[in-house]
């Protein structure tokens, strides 16, 4: 029976070529636009560490003087998880989590060994030993440094695959010297390609939230001792001495902690509020505010996903809705024209269910065709997005789940679009239609 309905549908498409093309085109455009923007939105709002994001937390404090009466939410909107060096180090040394690290970004000037080669800047991360194990950073060669290296301010560095390719042609460069900001660092590790999207640990530290990963990683204290400056510094006193940032009333590092279980968060929160209370008693802090969002909570709070991407998705679904209404209209027009045909079929014994099924098969076919076309439009749309200047643009590719989503959306959309016409078709009474033949 299904094959017969397919045949009937094909015949009907042949009879109304223009109308059929219009329906498929409209559905394809709507689906293409929705899938394109959904892919981008999914890319932007994805979980960069799905295996442990619920166990990763970043504390937020309010270091402002007593005179500043901003609500804590406002402070964290601007500061994010930026902390002062003192607080971050206190939390690091307390060692209350499974793993924890302090981090900041710096512009790393790399001077290649080759004569006449120009120095260039790449993204540098100044951090502490646990960074690599906490964020599951994959190594190609060597490994990260130890807490002892942090304490002794060892001049060691871990470099990214991209930098290793550029400087050493992809060979094992462990043991080589890297000239960073006019100081020699010994390479002890080379990473496999690693670029979490969004670059969650750097959201408050300055620079981009998406795109390629960082290039060189150095122990925080070693880099600060060599006068490498952080990318983003927020101070709360006009008398801040920028030459001695570690003791200045300025925030320029973030602190991340990995807990063994997500349920340990309550204990850590208690520890954090005790710490704040202690600092208030010492006179260092004047506000009791403290928060500790987990990774996804932090990304939500910082509104990492650009508003334009959300707006585009809303717009695309509005557009899809218009396309569906349009398809309903055209399908309806098509099937109302065929009242006589339906009358004949009903008079010859076809049940209402059979007529209903016939029309649903027909609109389902429109949906599949629209889905295929939508896929083409989505690929086209994503290609157009990759040509855009946005930092996430290069990452926009159709993934398999979106591929399936295309067909599901197309089929559901067209079946919804077909329901009304199919229902109208099956309620046609045979007698009046036959009379006028």
């Amino acid at each position: 029976m299904f094959a017969y309905y397919l045949d009937l549908a094909l015949r009907s498409f042949k009879r109304n070529r223009v109308l059929t093309v219009l329906m498929v085109l409209a559905l394809g455009l709507g689906i293409g636009a929705s899938i394109t923007t959904l892919t981008v939105l999914k890319l932007l709002s994805g979980d960069p560490m799905p295996q442990k994001s619920a166990r990763l937390f970043t504390p937020e404090l309010n270091p402002f003087p007593a005179a500043v009466t901003l609500p804590a939410e406002k402070v964290w909107q601007n500061f994010g998880d930026l902390l002062s060096y003192t607080d971050a180090m206190n939390l690091l040394r307390a060692h209350r989590g499974e793993r924890q690290a302090v981090m900041s970004l710096t512009g790393a000037k790399i001077a290649p060994k080759q004569p006449n080669a120009h120095p260039f800047f790449s993204d540098g991360v100044m951090t502490t030993a646990d960074f690599f194990s906490m964020f599951d950073v994959p190594f190609e060669y060597g490994s990260g440094w130890s807490a002892a290296d942090d304490d002794s301010r060892a001049r060691v560095a871990v470099i990214a695959a991209t930098l290793n390719d550029k400087l050493f042609g992809g060979r094992n460069s462990v043991g080589q010297t890297l000239r960073v900001n006019d100081h020699d660092y010994r390479i002890i590790g080379v990473l496999k390609p690693w670029a979490p999207q969004p670059r969650f640990y750097a959201v408050s530290l300055g620079g981009h939230s998406y795109g390629k990963g960082d290039a060189v990683f150095m122990p925080l204290d070693s880099a600060l001792a060599d006068k490498m400056g952080p990318q983003n510094t927020n101070c709360w006193s006009a008398e801040a001495d920028m030459d001695h940032l570690q003791t200045a009333p300025c925030a320029f590092v973030a602190f991340w902690v990995e807990l063994q279980h997500a349920s340990d968060a309550a204990a850590y929160r208690t520890f954090l509020s005790n710490y704040v209370a202690q600092q208030v008693a010492l006179g260092r802090f004047h506000h009791h505010d403290a928060a500790m969002p987990d990774l996804m909570g932090f990304l939500g709070q910082q509104q990492v996903v650009p508003n334009d991407a959300k707006l585009q998705t809303n717009l695309a679904f509005g557009f899809l809705l218009i396309c569906i209404v349009n398809t309903v209209g055209l399908l309806l027009a098509k099937c109302l024209r065929r009242s006589r045909e339906i009358g004949v079929r009903r008079a010859l014994g076809a049940t209402r269910q059979a007529v209903f099924a016939q029309f649903m098969v027909e609109s389902g076919m429109v949906g599949v065709a629209g889905g295929v076309l939508g896929l083409v439009f989505a690929e086209l749309g994503l290609w157009a997005i990759r040509q855009q200047p946005a930092e996430y643009a290069k990452l926009a590719h159709l993934d398999p789940s979106m591929f399936i989503a295309t067909f599901v959306i197309a089929l559901v959309a067209s079946l919804i679009a077909g329901l009304l016409p199919a229902w109208r078709a099956c309620v046609v009474a045979p007698a009046p239609q036959l009379k006028s033949v």
Binding site: L19, L22, A26, L29, G30, A33, F64, P65, A67, V68, T69, L70, Q77, N78, G107, K109, A111, H118, P119, F120, F121, N181, D182, K227, T233, C235, S237, A238, E239, A240, D241, M242, D243, H244, D308, K310, L311, Q312, L315, A316, G318, F319, L321, I322, C323, V325, N326, V328, G329, L330, L332, A333, K334, L336, R337, Q388, P389, A390, L420, R424
Partner: protein, 407 residues
């Protein structure tokens, strides 16, 4: 034109009529908001910026030894000023629309920066020749004198400028002293750093919006400074046609003078284009969606009306046979479309208003000015009439003889 028979026939075709109305309503709602967003973004693209945008080249010099800044900067500036075609040159801490920025809260009283409403402004610091190199346009007061440049130490390793004089943009002066005269007044950054407003210049954009949105985009303050490490960029001004040549000559000169540094040179036009690149692509996307959406709506109307005409061939024939002219038949379908469009537009306007309210709540959009509603109403009326033209003409061409066949 009689409306009664049209209404009677529409009552018989409730569902197709409702679909046309729904399609027009949705198109109207989306169109209003999309066009409004396009308008807002185009305004953003054309934000005026009172510097010599066409004549400026920015040279970012990074990776130099900060201890040598006091000697390097005068040497570099002297070398830049020797390049033929260079009108003026200065050292500066950041560049409008350059993203990298230094900002501070400022206040009109000593303790004011801790207050909630203390404005956060961009802190531009430039060396002698700054106003000329940028092409600032002075509206009131005067520019910095030599003493003021000499007086400004790089604030004891602080991010706060050293001197005691400041020039404000018009917008910032208005924000700080909404009713009074800003010239000669005192500004504070913290209790110890105070500055006298000596000049007001036309509005200059900040390096970035710094979370403050478009309303704070002109909150810029300019401070004089000596050759200190806060200077990261050189701004060179030249005639627009000499820009490329000067850019290359200046890059080569700076690279030769500081082989250890990384020099990045850009014309200001490129900096501006890069800053607004996302806005521009959003505009194109919105325009594309609007055009495709209107096309889809128009095809929908064509499809439904064609079906309608096909179904009523015999009635049309009868009307023609009893004396209706082609014009009458045309008018019938056009009026019908006008009625449906009108209902759709009315519903669409309500929807558009609702969507705008939703966007205002969730995406910090502003209220849509009322004139967007009638504008898109007219657009959809025209679209409806154009879409119905083809099917209406076909209806008008139905010969009267159809009435006599197969009855």
């Amino acid at each position: 034109m009689e409306i009664q028979p049209i209404l009677a026939s529409l009552r018989k075709h409730k569902i197709p009529a409702a679909l046309i109305v729904l399609e027009i309503a949705l198109a109207c709602a989306v169109l209003c908001n999309a066009v409004f967003m396009i308008g807002q973004r185009i305004a953003e693209l054309h934000l005026p910026n009172a510097i010599d945008e066409a004549g400026i080249v920015d040279l970012n010099v990074a990776g130099t030894d900060p201890k040598l800044a006091h000697a390097d900067i005068p040497r570099d500036l002297a070398a830049l000023r020797q390049i033929p075609g260079v009108v003026a040159a200065t050292g500066i801490d950041m560049i409008p629309l350059g993203h990298s920025s230094s900002n501070s809260n400022i206040a009109t009283s000593p303790g004011g920066i801790f207050q909630k409403d203390s404005p956060n402004v961009a802190i531009y610091m430039f060396t002698q020749g700054g106003p000329e190199a940028l092409g600032l346009s002075l509206l009131k007061g005067r520019l910095f004198n030599d003493d003021e440049y000499a007086d400004s130490k790089s604030g004891n390793n602080s991010y706060v400028p050293g001197g005691h004089a400041v020039i404000l943009t018009q917008a910032l002066a208005k924000r700080l002293w909404p009713t009074g005269e800003a010239l000669g007044k005192q500004l504070w950054i913290g209790p110890q750093n105070t500055y006298t407003v000596i000049g007001i210049v036309a509005n200059v954009l900040r390096p970035n919006q710094n979370g403050g949105g478009l309303s704070q985009f002109y909150w810029s303050a300019f401070f004089p400074i000596g050759p200190y490490p806060v200077v990261t960029d050189y701004v060179v001004r030249t005639a627009p046609q000499d820009r490329e040549r000067v850019l290359h000559a200046a890059t080569a000169k700076l690279e030769a003078l500081s082989p250890n540094a990384v020099v990045k040179a850009k014309t200001f036009t490129d900096i501006r284009d890069a800053y607004f690149a996302n806005v521009r692509s959003m505009v194109w996307m919105l325009v594309l969606v609007c055009v495709v959406m209107l096309a889809v709506t128009a095809f929908g109307i064509v499809g439904l009306t064609s079906f309608w005409v096909g179904q009523r061939r015999r009635q049309i024939g009868i009307r023609r046979a009893v004396g209706a002219t082609r014009g009458h038949i045309m008018q019938y379908f056009q009026t019908e479309n006008f009625l449906l469009s009108t209902v759709g537009i009315v519903i669409g306007m309500v929807l558009a208003f609702g969507i705008n309210l939703y966007l205002m709540q969730h995406y910090q959009l502003t209220r849509m000015p009322w004139y967007y509603l009638p504008a898109s109403a007219i657009a959809l009326w025209v679209l409806g009439q154009l879409a119905v033209l083809g099917p209406a003409l076909r209806a008008a061409n139905v010969p009267p003889v159809v009435a006599t066949r197969s009855v």
